[in-house]
Subunit: 91 residues, 2 copies
Amino acid sequence: MESISYGAIAAVLTTTAFLPQAFKVIRTGEAKSLSLSMFLMMFVGTLLWALHGFDLEDKPMIYANLTTSGLNAVILVIKIRSIIREKQVNS
Amino acid sequence: MESISYGAIAAVLTTTAFLPQAFKVIRTGEAKSLSLSMFLMMFVGTLLWALHGFDLEDKPMIYANLTTSGLNAVILVIKIRSIIREKQVNS
């Protein structure tokens, strides 16, 4: 029982954690201090976790990781756009 | 076999993803576009995943999540310091 409750709260927290970050970059359009590598690794990593979930036929694993992957994709797009904009300003 | 390889690459990516972000905030001391909520949720969430790992006696789960939790703690400290500094500048 105890292991179920730890795991459940952990799953909710680590799946939804990217939500406030996505909101923040959408609201401000600002992503300077974000690491491109981090969000790229999380995007690919959670996509692979979802594939792993497909292999295990584990629906919570598939949906949770596709959600996190989607949020990372949003953050990535804004981060890449801010890099391009910065390059244009500097050139 | 296929499920093992997806899962293994996924695990490496999502565990080490916070490393470049930690390096970036340490190097620049800048954390303005980071969401405090996100890194707080990841810190607590991965700590709870580690506790879940203790319950399951799953060593890779314990070590991987303690690593990610530690990296999130470093990022959090710099983020909170930057919030305090900004408040001092504005007052």
